[in-house]
């Protein structure tokens, strides 16, 4: 059992949870993830470890409520528990040791990016973070990233920071020159756009792939992705890969496999909540 010791709402659908997991907190490296299962009958969900505190024995998870299972996790309160937290899984990030890194985060991807930004800054690398969201309320972790270097914020509606997509801001940085590496984490279309943008500049670009997984140990092969024409498993060979080798079209496509199930599950959840609300009303009446 893993109690939640801290909870913070970062954006309308992203929650930060600090969870007890002493062993993982001790050995985890940036870029690695865990698989969590809330309780009996629950789904196994891969989540990047955003931070760890080996002394307190806790890890930090940033969760975006998209499906029924992630919504269950984001509604957890302090004192409640997650039954299973398995990890750390995946390979650690290949960090550059010096120079200038541009780190691009979109949506909840910014949370996945944070540990990489921190580790780079600790290495003495100059970091410029470029983060985006639909509008101001969807921009997360700006202060934490600012503690590690420059931050450029972009919003789709111009309600905060630059008006427009992160790729435009990235282009300006690439044109200015001196960028040694780019790390980009976010929705597949964003990572694809970043990859296409950096390629002509010949800048080494790393992306983190959020493929569908069950076990996270290489056993099911559900997370297979095509890298430079070869099948790889995101869970054990990744989750991070050289962006210029990734078949993003295939990844985007495979991520839609369970779309209709996800919609049904959300509808069921909403239905149950509605029924629950009715039951409460009846009791009150």
């Amino acid at each position: 059992m893993h109690p939640v010791v801290e909870r913070e709402q970062l954006s309308p659908n992203v929650v930060r949870l600090v969870v007890e997991a002493a062993r993982i907190a001790k050995v985890r490296r940036p870029g690695q993830f865990v698989i969590v299962r809330k309780g009996p009958g629950g789904e196994r969900i891969p989540l990047t470890i955003a931070d760890n505190d080996p002394v307190a024995g806790t890890i930090t998870l940033m969760i975006q409520a998209i499906g029924a299972s992630t919504t269950e996790l984001t509604s957890l309160q302090v004192g409640e528990t997650i039954q299973d937290v398995a990890g750390p899984l995946g390979r650690e990030t290949d960090l550059i040791a010096s120079g200038h890194a541009v780190c691009v985060g979109g949506g909840v991807g910014t949370a996945v990016l944070l540990p990489i930004v921190k580790a780079l800054a600790e290495n003495g690398v100059k970091v410029t973070s470029v983060i985006g969201g639909r509008s101001k309320e969807w921009v997360i972790l700006e202060p934490e990233l600012r503690a590690c270097g420059d931050v450029v914020v972009c919003t789709d509606d111009g309600s905060y920071g630059r008006h427009g997509f992160v790729t435009q801001a990235l282009k300006d940085l690439l044109d200015a020159g001196g960028v040694d590496a780019v790390y980009a984490i976010g929705p597949v279309p964003m990572m694809k756009a970043v990859s296409e943008m950096t390629k002509p500049y010949d800048v080494e670009t790393t992306v983190s792939l959020n493929a569908i997984m069950v076990d996270g140990t290489g056993m099911c092969g559900g997370c297979r992705v095509t890298i430079a024409g070869e099948t790889k498993y995101a869970c054990v060979d990744g989750p991070e890969f050289n962006a210029h080798d990734v078949n993003f079209q295939e990844l985007a496509d495979r991520l839609t496999t369970y779309r209709s199930f996800e919609q049904q599950a959300l509808a069921r959840q909403a239905d149950q909540e509605a029924k629950g609300a009715c039951a409460t009303t009846e009791v009150k009446a």
């Binding site: 789904e43 299973d84 398995a86 899984l89 140990t217 559900g222 496509d253």
Partner: protein, 505 residues
């Protein structure tokens, strides 16, 4: 309807059965082999309930009378864990179920499991003396009967109170090899901890073998019995990530690595990453471990209407029969050799046929076909014929030119085997592995790291539950000897008798 084994008549309790005149061997030879009561094919293809219902008390007693108690029983030699088969059958025949159970459990840590999933026809039953003139004794059915009785009457079995040794043994993997070793070592008084990567123990018994062949509450009960004997289980522990082998070696006096052969093998044909192509590992794990057979499961599964399963082993049969139960109108096995070479247990093939599974034999996949949204619509295949025997002794399938055709389907499950997972070995460079990544162990199961033993699929390659259990049992003997400072072990039980032959399994 048949009555479950739990409802045995009152006289079956203890040894209080009235004296009866023993049958002569000649009389025994006239009794025909019992048939296993089972759910009807068409009915069971619609549910996940167990197919084999188990023998009734009367059927079991009648079958027990068929054993002629050979003085030199071949069946024991045919059993990878060397269960003293005539002994437990004799107790059963005498109506002494507690003694039958004690005898069986003393030899086999997971008899409820092996009674259901062992390929008896090629082991104990295959060498039974009665096969010379007809059918063997139904040893597997009797094992299951006694084991199921034991599970429900634990209070009638003597409790073991081993002297605690204070020695700590770490076991990696809670599949059949790991659980068997855990049981044996706990019996000898060692302090045993089993590490499991998944959230539930049992390994392939939980994620792989379906409910209709091995109910999950049976596996859980076997695990619970080990826990009651003092075995500790740590789930969510991935060795190679959560802990490394050298770390564990420091903390434990000996280790047994039994992680299985975890990586799925794919066909390596175009279109394999289309939506609607699963490895058997993923398909079965979603259904069995994650419970996706239930419509309200949090874990989704694609329900194909026309499902093709590529492969001919037990895993392929499990997958194709699962597809039928998930509502597939058409469920087809595509296998590149002929029926004779199907590696699956005979009973599984027979059950699959009863359930309406189609067999496209001498057929090999060439390409997965998909629509514009990259959903599977078919499998392009070629017909094969059998040529000269290959290294395995089986005749090699050869493609018939111009025989290509498409089998229409909306789901493809690939069940053509597994290979070694490098996750654990990658964290311990001292562990020697062969060119395929399987661990190298000596005749006592010891790896290149002193005090670190290995067994099951990670040593022998994909094999069976019972061979893995045999490794677990032998390695436990060897580990016990190692812990007692006796090396090499004196006991013959610690040594693999025919290593070369087992490797071919």
């Amino acid at each position: 309807m048949t009555e479950p084994a739990s409802q045995v008549p009152a006289e079956a309790d203890g040894a209080a059965i009235p004296d009866k005149t023993p049958l002569t061997n000649k009389e025994r030879m006239t009794i025909g082999r019992v048939s296993m009561p089972e759910q009807e094919g068409e009915v069971r293809a619609q549910n996940f309930g167990e197919v084999n219902l188990g023998l009734t008390y009367q059927l079991a007693m009648m079958e027990a009378e068929r054993c002629i108690q050979c003085p030199k029983p071949f069946c024991v030699d045919g059993c990878p864990v060397r269960v003293d088969i005539p002994r437990f059958i004799k107790f059963l025949r005498d109506g002494d179920l507690p003694s039958a159970a004690e005898s069986l459990l003393g030899d086999n840590a997971l008899p409820c499991v092996t009674g259901r999933v062992c390929p008896q026809e090629s082991q104990c039953e295959g060498v039974c003396i009665r096969t010379k003139k007809g059918d063997s004794v139904a040893i597997g059915y009797l094992e299951r009967f006694v084991a199921d009785w034991a599970l429900q009457n634990l209070d009638q079995l003597p409790k073991a109170h081993p002297v605690l040794t204070g020695k700590k043994v770490g076991i990696v993997g809670s599949g059949p090899a790991g659980l068997t070793a855990a049981g044996e070592l706990a019996k000898k008084g060692h302090d045993v901890t089993v590490f499991e990567a998944f959230h539930a123990p049992g390994g392939v018994l939980i994620y792989g073998i379906p409910e209709f062949r091995l109910p999950k509450d049976i596996v859980q009960a076997e695990v619970d019995r080990l826990v009651a004997e003092g075995v500790k289980i740590e789930v969510d522990a991935i060795i190679g990530r959560t802990y490394t082998v050298p770390e564990l070696r420091e903390e434990y006096d000996a280790l047994f690595l039994a992680v299985g052969a975890g990586l799925p093998v794919f066909m390596n044909v175009p279109g394999e990453n289309f939506k609607g192509v699963y490895s058997a590992n993923e398909y079965l794990t979603r259904v069995n471990l994650m419970g996706a057979w239930s419509p309200t499961s949090a874990t989704p599964i694609l329900h194909g209407q026309r499902v093709v399963v590529v492969g001919g082993g037990n895993v392929a049969m499990d997958a194709v029969r699962t597809a039928r139960r998930l509502g597939a109108a058409e469920a087809t096995i595509v296998y590149r050799r002929s029926e004779e070479e199907l590696p699956a247990r005979k009973e599984e093939v027979h059950h699959a046929k009863d359930e309406g599974v189609r067999f496209e034999l001498l057929t090999a996949p060439e390409e997965v076909i998909g629509d514009e949204n990259r959903w599977v619509t078919g499998l392009r295949v070629s017909s094969m014929e059998l040529g000269e025997p290959d290294k395995s002794g089986r005749r090699r399938p050869v493609k018939i030119e111009g025989s290509e055709h498409i089998i229409g389907c909306d789901l493809v499950v690939v069940a053509i085997g597994t290979r070694a997972n490098p996750l654990l070995t990658g964290s311990a460079p001292e562990l020697k592995v062969n060119e395929y990544g399987y661990m190298i162990a000596d005749e006592y199961g010891m790896t290149s790291m002193p005090g670190v033993f290995a067994g099951g699929d990670i040593v022998r390659g994909a094999a069976t539950v019972i061979l893995a259990m045999g490794d677990g049992k032998r390695s436990a003997q060897a580990i016990d000897s190692w812990l007692n400072g006796v090396w090499p072990p004196v006991s013959a039980d610690a040594k693999e008798p025919e290593k070369a032959e087992a490797a071919a399994g």
